[in-house]
Subunit: 303 residues, 2 copies
């Protein structure tokens, strides 16, 4: 059931802090690893938590501010040093390639490993798809073009109704076809319609990541109903003016997005380095959206 | 007396390790901060130890491998974010400017702060000088052009011989001129020669940093007699073949350089991430050069 595992590598903001690292996350899904943002130091955390470098094929960069992408060059260098082969696709703003390509060419030559840049569509859209997962980018509102990412499990196959399967004595080899929609024909030639043999599939889970953004209800439809929403909350209410000036959100604003979007769980992060602890973020978010959690480096969320 | 203070920000090598950070040091001298190498994460350590960003004016990069320079872009971004004004000179291989300039232009625009690239002279030479300090670059031998740096206090002014000053009743306002070499003329017109009024100056201290290099006695004259030598020791004897193949040194080789150069203290660092602790480095170095210390993140050496 819990096929997503989200690991927080960094949940601080731009100014360095001893308490937090800049933005980076790893989302694991059925053996594949997706990195989301890659702030300075992400490579060290990636290996600290024992992730297998051969399982990471895609990195999603929300926007081109240093605290979200300065870790890329080091991460890629280390992938090569550790012998990774194949491809790594970086989904990011179009400008990233011209910024990173000279350093990749200089520091990261490899005959067996290739970096592919996949520019994010300006208005957002589907940017990744495999047989069980779909990733959509959607626009946020920040000082530079910034994107959120939504990971949706595709609709799953229905479960076999075990009592029906027993009743009709269906051979094992037929079950996959039935899950995929086939009717069952008995040895006597009777057709048992598919709907008599299956039960509804497990619900599909989903995750949305809203990196740097000012509060805007335009985000709501993009994150509607997700199982888990990570939404930046750089400031508490005390600094709401600063949040607006700097195109960031407060904890209460993140909670308001979660409430409107009817998500399952809200995770806060991207804390300003001015805070000595984050208790106040929870105090301000929970009255608006009770199911709110604080992120911290090393935390894992399974859903 | 102890005017140099060396702080180790990172003493690991290229592969990320949870035990160490990549190469970076801060050398403090009379209120000025000199950064030596700037591996990923150096900015966080710089602020962790409370250094004042307005005091750093020069960074010396030994060579263009990522574990010695990937922290530059983040460090500079943060200097700007924190409001640093004036200039920062980066002394490094000529290629660095073309690699870093596009990112500086994109991420680090400032009207009041400027980065200056100062290419290291190919054969080495004096690269920095002020009234009390001189910095010399000298060639090491690695897979890419690599340089060591030597910091020498210039000869200091002599001390006033207090008993002589008292005997001749020299007014306080004359003392600086005497320190600078003047004779003293008494109210009666008698000339007291300078050498009767002064005692030898305190000895000048010095520091040399030998980053990535294969063992080569050609280093010896460049680091001759320094107070403190930091010399890379990526490997222990067990991996001496690998050291040679990768153009690195063992602890014993670093100690041999220190012994030949008759330095005061040897500090080892740039440990391969394969080691779970570094005791064996000391075991192998001290029989050759007893006054050997291990570096570690956060350690400070005063001399």
């Amino acid at each position: 059931m819990n096929e997503f595992e989200l690991t927080i590598l960094g949940c601080g903001s731009a100014r360095p802090s001893v308490r937090h690292l800049p933005s980076a996350q790893v989302l694991s899904y059925r053996g594949k690893l997706f990195m989301i943002d890659c702030g300075e130091g992400a490579q060290r955390e990636f290996f600290r938590y024992g992730f297998n470098l051969n399982r990471v094929g895609h990195i999603f960069i929300s926007h081109l501010h240093g605290d979200h992408c300065y870790g890329l060059i080091g991460f890629i260098s280390t992938l090569i040093l550790q012998g990774k082969t194949g491809e790594l696709t970086i989904h990011a703003h179009n400008d990233l390639e011209k910024l990173l390509a000279p350093s990749l060419e200089y520091f990261c030559r490899s005959e067996v490993f290739k970096v592919i840049f996949s520019p994010l569509p300006v208005k957002g859209g589907i940017i990744y798809e495999d047989k069980s997962l779909q990733v959509t980018a959607f626009p946020l509102k920040h000082r530079v073009p910034s994107y959120g990412f939504r990971f949706d499990e595709k609709e799953k196959l229905p479960h076999i109704d075990k009592s029906a399967a027993e009743y009709y004595q269906i051979p094992l080899k037929e079950l996959q076809a039935i899950k995929e929609g086939a009717d069952y024909i008995t040895p006597e030639g009777e057709t048992i319609p598919n709907k008599k043999l299956v039960l509804p599939p497990s619900p599909s889970q989903s995750y949305a990541y809203c990196s740097d953004t000012i509060y805007t209800p335009r985000i709501v439809p993009f994150v509607k109903g997700v199982t888990v929403l990570y939404h930046e909350s750089t400031y508490t209410e005390e600094y709401s003016e600063q949040a607006k000036d700097r195109y960031h959100s407060t904890a209460a604003q993140a909670a308001d997005i979660a409430r409107q979007a009817e998500v399952g769980t809200l995770i806060l992060g991207h804390y300003s380095s001015r805070y000595k602890d984050e208790a106040q973020f929870l105090n301000e978010a929970r009255p608006i959206f009770p199911n709110t959690l604080l992120s911290n480096e090393g935390m894992k969320f399974r859903f």
